[in-house]
Assembly symmetry: C2
Homo-oligomer: 386 residues x 2
DNA sequence: CTGAAAGCGCTTACAG
DNA sequence: CTGAAAGCGCTTACAG
């Protein structure tokens, strides 16, 4: 008998009790037939990951060639011309051993890491998920790997960006934030690290793909005005509301209200739990009497707008009957509402595609001293909330 | 003048035109004052990432010690006792150079990679985002890095899981899927790779944290039955509907309907674009006459349930007036609906926490031959949709 | 208390 | 057409 089953509880039961969960249910696998199952093997020797994997040297030995030759063949190095027969022998050996090159060793030895870091502000907004999905697909297609900045934090403030500094990358694709953390991350090397900004840039001396937030938001606002709305409130995250530098969406709102001769009304929310905070705002606005209530809520993005929508409805208001609602980004979730959201669609695929192209150009031409900036327009999507 | 600004368009314009976007708007940065901005530096020599970063050797040289000594100090190696003065000198040198250890080299040299791979089926379901967030936080706290399996694909089918095989990891935390891709990824090494399964396991000879889906779904169904619902339809993804092995949620549904003497009604949807597909199902059910319509829709998870909810409402039905609706998972988005969703809450933090504990135990005790399995219960959340 | 040295798994000129 | 060798930036016994 090569093993025994053992239901250990380590700290889990304490954990469960501490959290108020009734109890852990042990799984009943006492069936003796388990014991002659073939899937368990004896574990012997070092479990170091390195020991598990066949190396180039293993492949070389099996094919009776040198490691250099194997490397040339497997990487399709055009400078080395290896005999067809040898190539096939090597590929067969690699296949049989299930050889997978060790990325770490490859990066160490080569002059390129062949990977690109992506920084996005949060994973808790489906828009940035689609940015990551689209970026990764492009990056893989171009023969690079993507390293996602470990932004897996609920609160933006607690993220340790410097962590990305520990992952060797050839360059950074960065959806910009309220402040530029580049120096914080890369220290003195920041100025020499190829970086392409997405979304917006604070600086003329950088490369990046801007989204034309100003025009996009202006289109949204004009649409509301055309529909007769005059009393527009802007729903905006705290960090954007507070930051001294101008935000293009906020600018567009200010300009529109000014030219309308109306009153600026800012509704702020804490940045995390965007949808839940939006819902609370919707409830609060819904509780106002019709006289003082805005006739349209212009939201900073779709994610918060969805929450606001539900809050308004939960408060008994009709959208757009009693009040209009708009978002920004064009995420699928907004279009899945019973009344699809009116919004400005940001083409994440174009933004990422252009950004990656720029970045790889910079990586592959390190002497490049020119910077490239481009602005990509958004598209107004008229849904059923206006 | 050390640079010139140049608005290049490479393929972007073609891209934009091809996609039907009107035109790219060049950014007007012709202001000549740009040119004496100090942020641009001349780029000289190799831009290889390696060249950018100070190495251990640089720190050693600066502190006039050997690289071994620097390594001992910076890693706090308890076996080596280094003089306080030397330690301080080394730390100061590292600080001044902005030294960041190269993870790749460290992993190559050391016997542990100190990183854990996480595999989840999709990022397009907020539940799995929270799994990633929670897992990463725990993993970092324990001194490991997390490598997310590049599952950034819209369609589950196109994912190349073998890609994870290229990232050296000490072990794998895997939220299981319909089929176990372990062998596909790791080949012959699969049986020696420490793996902990989350969610469910097909095998007695593995370690993992099960979620008690059966009891959870049974609670949901009993709740509906208590509220007088008798005509229950099950909304389920195609892969689950088709797979031969039993799914615990599906089993619970079959058992409940059988004991009710009712009729099995399965509504399937394609796995990707879960929310949009759910909406379509909601619309279809809403179009049925009241006589043939189910009186409750039991959804496989919250993500699809949210779509169904909107579809039903868009079709003019009242939830729960005309029809009840339930989800599974307990994601925040479900609780943000105007009528919060009735669901079974899966405690992702407990599941991940226990799983990571198990995995690290296996990594650090490679000879361990016992397997640990535990089941974690879900909690019924009664919302406003039943 | 500190250093010299081997080695992790690769890539890449450079020989032959 | 293929191999021997240096080297990437670290860790870790092993000396001294």
């Amino acid at each position: 008998m090569c093993c025994y089953m053992n239901f250990k509880y380590i700290n889990y039961q304490l954990l469960l009790l501490a959290c108020g969960w009734l109890s852990a249910t042990p799984i009943d696998k006492t069936d003796p037939s388990c014991y002659d199952c073939a899937t368990l093997v004896h574990v012997r020797g070092s479990m170091s990951n390195n020991a598990l994997r066949p190396s180039l040297a293993d492949v070389a030995a099996k094919a009776s060639v040198s490691v250099g030759t194997v490397s040339h063949v497997l990487n399709g190095n055009p400078k080395a011309r290896i005999a067809q027969a040898t190539q096939e022998r090597i590929r067969r050996a690699a296949d049989e051993l299930g050889y997978r090159p060790n990325r770490f060793a490859r990066s160490l030895a080569g002059k390129h890491v062949r990977s690109i870091g992506l920084m996005i502000p949060t994973l808790n907004n489906p828009f940035f998920i689609s940015v990551a999905v689209v970026a990764q697909r492009r990056i893989l297609d171009l023969g690079y790997e993507m390293v996602l900045d470990p932004i897996f934090a609920q609160e933006w403030a607690v993220i340790d960006h410097r962590r990305l500094g520990y992952w060797p990358v050839d360059g950074i694709l960065m959806w910009t934030f309220t402040s530029q953390p580049t120096n914080e991350i890369f220290g003195a090397q920041a100025s020499r690290m190829p970086i392409v900004y997405l979304g917006l840039m604070n600086d003329a001396y950088c490369s990046g793909v801007q989204v034309d937030f100003y025009t996009g938001m202006t289109r949204v606002l004009n649409h509301l005005i055309q529909r007769g709305r005059r009393n527009l409130a802007f729903v905006v995250p705290e960090t954007v509301a507070n930051k001294p530098s101008s935000d293009r969406r906020r600018e567009a709102y200010f300009d529109a209200v000014k030219s309308l001769g109306g009153e600026i009304q800012i509704l702020r929310y804490a940045d995390d739990h965007e949808m839940a905070n939006g819902r609370r705002i919707g409830l609060e606005v819904g509780a106002l009497s019709a006289r003082v209530r805005p006739d349209a809520l212009v939201c900073y993005n779709d994610n918060v707008a969805i929450g606001v929508y539900h809050g308004l409805r939960a408060a008994g208001l009709s959208v757009p009957g009693d009040i209009s609602l708009t978002g920004f980004d064009g995420i699928e979730e907004g279009q899945c509402l019973d009344n699809p959201l009116t919004t400005a669609m940001v083409p994440a695929d174009l933004v990422c595609g252009a950004g990656i192209e720029m970045l790889i150009e910079r990586i592959e031409n390190p002497m490049l001293e020119q910077h490239t900036q481009i602005a990509i327009p958004t598209r107004l999507i008229v849904g059923a909330t206006t």
